[in-house]
């Protein structure tokens, strides 16, 4: 078939025309693409560059090292120790099940840990490290490290964790740290980002919690380049954080340990205070518990054991527990009366065994009475009637005001949890709280530290120190922060008549050193170290008239929780007071029997800065004391069982 050349010409012209038309359209499109490219890459380049940077750069926090805690001599109380853990990276491990079973042949893996790790693995991307075992021993970690080639994806890692080497000795003072909980976060207004790091530890109780602000330190940050799946490719730069401040406490670890050991399983509290500076040399509550359990995460059974123990090991009895001060309050009543000029130290009051107020009789603890007593004899023998009489003359409001001057019913700010105010009642207070008028009987009760009157062992120690010095001594727990001494609040004079104070101290000296004193059996005989003190026995029940008629049941015959609290406050040496001590033994019976011996032992330990020589003790006690010293030394660093059933 041959074609008409004219036809060929025509179709070719048409083709050329259309080809040029189409080529033009294509050129236009290419031009549009070029314009678009120019718009994005030149006009909007900065904006896109910024987006690209945001994509690739991530900021990661570097957790700060927590400040460590030391005693006044530099002995470590709360330290950071390396803790070894084993992490697994799913992506590198390949066959996770095989690797875990291989690992479990080397070291012991807890099934619940493995289960938790598996759950975590399912949720997170494969390159994220997941903790498989925590707090494993150095031996176990070496085993894993040696076998590393056979365990793909398994890495031993080292981190820092808190350890309290003195275990229960400082449990109440220092408290403990634990991982941040959702509850902790919910309480905070604007939580620091570092708190969101999994397993980051913060102070939960005690000093650790109260000084969290300086202990925690400031988190550092590093800028890392990440890829689209969030894997870190490299570190771009880092800004180091600031480690937490080291705290030095006023407490003497050796003395504190002795006090805890001396108290043993007794439910008691002891405070040893430096009369001069107010430094708390020991502040012990017993029974105690091992704070390390809480750092690790306490088991339900252990926690139940602690909460259900009637001796309340978790409570910090030194500042949190308040007790009727009992006869230890008598110095306050007397001081109020002396300062008001109601009575002279030598003036006597007749004690027939009771004081009749209106129709009601207020009994002295000694049924037969003490006869004529002055300040010294009344305190020495702890006559109640003398103080009823004084109190009725002075009135409750002045007594309470005097108590406040001595630090009772006043809050002493210490970095510890739940510091109690105690209570010094006034007429207004009763009207406000109970809506009832103040009764004369209330005054009588208050005069011997019963009734509404409440004080913590710390407050009683402060009171003793203030009696000993006549100055407004205030307690101090933190001696220095990062090596910088915290300022001493050197309290001014209490503004009391020095003669009255001297008389009062002399009376307290008689309590401990006079043959008829209630604490005579717990005296110190070393010259120059003699002690002045006051016993107290505070009732936790009312003695009914029927009971009184039938004869008061002795403490030994009562169930433990109904026995009296035993108290003792003292200071020594008498001539130049150095330490003030308060002892409260819950339901311990009489103060002279249960509390005073503890106070003496603790005082001597503090005064001699170690085990005192037997010559400091009265001859008759020495063999018993020697046995006790040997026992305590044997069981140095006692293992504290916390199940609470063993009540020695």
């Amino acid at each position: 078939m041959k074609r008409n050349p004219r036809d060929i010409e025509a179709t070719h012209r048409k083709l050329s025309r259309r080809a040029l038309l189409l080529g033009g359209a294509q050129a236009a499109f290419v031009g549009a693409l070029a314009m678009r490219m120019r718009y994005m890459q030149v006009d909007q380049a900065d904006q896109f560059r910024l987006l690209a940077e945001e994509n690739r750069i991530n900021i990661r926090l570097i957790p700060p090292t927590r400040g460590e805690l030391f005693d006044r001599n530099g002995v470590i109380l709360g330290q950071n120790v390396p803790s070894y853990r084993i992490i697994i990276v799913r992506e590198d491990a390949g066959d996770v099940d095989k690797v875990i079973s291989d690992l479990s042949r080397l070291i012991e893996l807890r099934p619940e840990d493995v289960e938790r790790a598996r759950a975590e693995m399912r949720r997170s991307p494969p390159f994220l490290p997941i903790t498989l075992a925590d707090r494993i021993t150095w031996e176990e970690i070496s085993k894993v490290a040696v076998n590393a080639p056979a365990l793909p994806g398994i890495t031993p890692e080292v981190g820092l964790t808190r350890v309290y080497p003195w275990q229960g000795d400082f449990a109440h003072v220092i408290g403990y740290v634990g991982p941040v909980s959702d509850y902790d976060l919910s309480k905070m207004e604007d939580p620091e980002p570092v708190l969101r790091i999994p397993r980051f530890q913060i102070g939960k109780v005690g000093l650790e919690a109260k000084r969290e602000d300086i202990l925690r330190g400031k988190a550092g940050a590093k800028r890392v380049e990440v890829n689209a799946t969030g894997r870190v490719m490299r570190e771009l730069d880092r800004q180091e954080g600031q480690p937490g401040a080291d705290l030095q406490m006023s407490v003497d670890a050796k003395l504190q340990h002795y006090v805890q050991a001396r108290l043993g399983r007794e439910s008691a509290a002891v405070v040893v205070m430096d009369c001069e500076t107010g430094d708390l040399r020991a502040i012990a509550s017993s029974p105690s518990f091992d704070p390390n359990l809480f750092v690790r995460g306490i088991s339900v059974a252990d926690y139940r054991g602690l909460t259900e123990d009637p001796y309340r090991p978790l409570a910090n009895k030194t500042v949190q527990g308040t007790y009727p001060p009992g006869s230890t309050f008598k110095m306050i009543t007397a001081m109020a009366a002396l300062e008001e000029g109601m009575i002279e130290p030598e003036e006597t009051v007749y004690c027939p065994g009771f004081l009749k107020v209106g129709s009601r009789r207020f009994h002295c603890w000694k049924r037969g009475g003490h006869g004529h007593v002055n300040l010294e004899t009344s305190l020495k023998r702890s006559c109640d009637v003398y103080y009823y009489d004084l109190a009725l003359k002075v009135g409750i409001d002045r007594i309470s005001a005097m108590a406040n001057r001595f630090g009772l019913g006043v809050r002493h700010e210490l970095p510890m949890s739940a510091v109690a105010d105690g209570l010094t009642p006034t007429q207004d207070w009763k009207q406000r709280v109970y809506g009832e008028g103040w009764l004369i009987g209330d005054t009588a009760n208050a005069s011997i530290g019963q009734g509404f009157m409440l004080a913590s062992p710390l407050q009683l120690a402060v009171m003793s120190a203030r009696i000993a010095t006549g100055r407004e001594v205030a307690p101090r727990l933190v001696k220095s922060i990062n090596g910088i001494e915290t300022p001493l609040i050197r309290g001014g004079s209490l503004g009391l008549n020095e003669n009255n104070l001297r008389k009062m101290r002399k009376a307290m000296y008689a309590v401990s050193n006079d043959r008829r004193g209630t604490a005579y059996r717990s005296r110190i005989i070393a010259e120059g170290l003699r002690m002045a003190g006051k016993t107290g026995t505070s009732q936790v029940r009312n003695i009914t008239a029927a009971e009184r008629a039938a004869g008061v049941i002795s403490n030994e015959d009562l169930p433990w929780e109904r026995r009296d609290h035993a108290l003792y406050v003292c200071f020594a040496p008498f001539e130049a007071p150095k330490y003030a001590v308060s002892v409260v033994v819950e339901h311990g019976g009489g103060g002279s029997r249960a509390a005073a011996p503890v106070a003496r032992d603790v005082l001597l330990q503090a005064l001699y800065d170690g085990t005192p020589p037997l010559e400091a003790y009265p001859k008759g006690d020495r063999s018993r004391i020697q046995a006790q010293q040997e026992r305590l030394q044997r069981e140095d660093r006692p293992t504290l069982d916390t199940d609470g059933n063993d009540r020695a």
Partner: protein, 382 residues
């Protein structure tokens, strides 16, 4: 026209033909492929494996195929057009029947050394058939309805087969290339006007129907359209790729971040960075200068195709060369529009640059036909 009408004696013979190939075009193709090697080397993090090296081998193979095709006289290819088209259709059918065994939709046939995508082949053989058809059809019949319907069927058959795979991108490319060829052949513009008008009408209807009782698309299909129109509505889902692609492109700036310094591609923010989105890596690392240079290279290749077509008096040669040019244009225009956020994400590779065997080989073979048309062009008036 039969090949007897050509002045066969004046065309080069034997291996001398190689001297008469369109060497500037070959050089352009080689430089575009070179850009591809560079980028594949870069996205692999500075390594010849796994992409740059196989790509180089394929390009070498492609050169051989192109030369072989070029040496065969153009009239042979015209006569083979029907056969080639039928083979392509059969291959598409084979993929449809046997290819579904793998994961989901399989679009390729394993030839051992490479995977052949029949839809890629289809783009060229369809152009060949249409060119042969219009070469055979007398000029005055071109716009008669019955003679228009036949090529429309030739286009729609493979389009539907590809659409069923489902491969929307290739289907659109087939449709556009076929339409382009019919336009070049001289079909009356009124047909195109009618098709475009009804197309616009359908689009308007689709959007207007949204939310009404006679809604024409499924809800998820509308959402996809939304995502395309505004990727920021779904930054981590379907819009993620296009957003990251735009960030990579834009952050390149005027001169780029430097070879192998593109954070977006190196840190895997870019999807499919070695295939469909390879242009973003180029634009990120070499900036506007790099991107524009590649665009320029493509335009020059296109220009050479058009020039070759206009220089020959043989109607089949002109049409097939222009058709291949249209295909090539559609490849890079759609791919670039896609990565710049001007078109929805459809799987269209960047020609000669993206990693992929069959697309490149088929394209090289097609350029072989362009060469053949150039070598065997009629030297004298009949």
């Amino acid at each position: 026209m039969s090949y007897l009408e050509y002045n066969v004696k004046s065309t080069p013979t034997g291996l001398r033909k190689i001297l008469y190939m369109n060497w500037p075009l070959t050089l352009l193709l080689a430089s575009v492929a070179g850009v591809g090697f560079l980028m594949l080397y870069s996205v692999a993090g500075g390594s010849y494996s796994p992409w740059a090296e196989p790509q180089m081998k394929r390009f070498a193979l492609g050169l051989a195929v192109m030369t072989a095709v070029a040496l065969v006289p153009i009239w042979f290819w015209r006569n083979m057009a029907v056969v080639a088209y039928c083979i392509s259709i059969l291959l598409l059918l084979a993929v449809e029947l046997f290819g579904t065994v793998g994961m989901g939709a399989q679009r390729w046939i394993d030839l051992g050394f490479m995977r052949l995508q029949p839809s890629e082949l289809m783009k060229i053989t369809m152009v060949m058939l249409l060119a042969a058809y219009y070469d055979w059809l007398p000029g005055q019949k071109t716009s008669r309805p019955i003679w228009v319907l036949i090529p429309v069927m030739m286009i729609l058959l493979p389009t539907f087969m590809v659409l069923k795979q489902p491969d929307l991108g290739t289907a659109i490319l087939l449709l556009a290339a076929g339409g382009g060829l019919m336009f070049l052949a001289g079909v009356h513009w009124a047909y195109f006007a009618a098709v475009i008008a009804s197309g616009v009408g359908v689009i308007v209807a689709v959007f207007k129907s949204r939310g009404t009782d006679w809604q024409m698309l499924k809800d998820y299909q509308y959402r996809r359209i939304d995502t395309f129109l505004d990727p920021s509505t779904d930054p981590l889902g379907a819009g993620y790729h296009i957003t990251q692609s735009k960030i990579a492109l834009g952050s390149g700036g005027w001169s780029g971040r430097g070879f192998m310094q593109g954070t977006q591609s190196r840190l895997n923010f870019l999807p499919e960075k070695h295939t469909d989105f390879i242009f973003t890596t180029l634009a990120e690392e070499f900036g506007f200068i790099g991107g524009f240079s590649l665009l320029l290279l493509y335009s020059l290749i296109l220009l050479f195709c058009i020039a070759t077509a206009l220089a020959t008096r043989d109607r089949f040669s002109s049409l097939v060369t222009l058709g291949i040019g249209i295909n090539f244009f559609l490849f890079f225009a759609v791919n670039m529009s896609m990565v710049m956020g001007l078109a929805p994400v459809v799987g269209v590779p960047l020609p000669m640059v993206s990693y992929g065997g069959s697309a490149m080989l088929v394209l090289m073979a097609a350029f072989g036909i362009v060469h053949s048309a150039h070598i065997h062009r009629p030297r004298h008036r009949v």
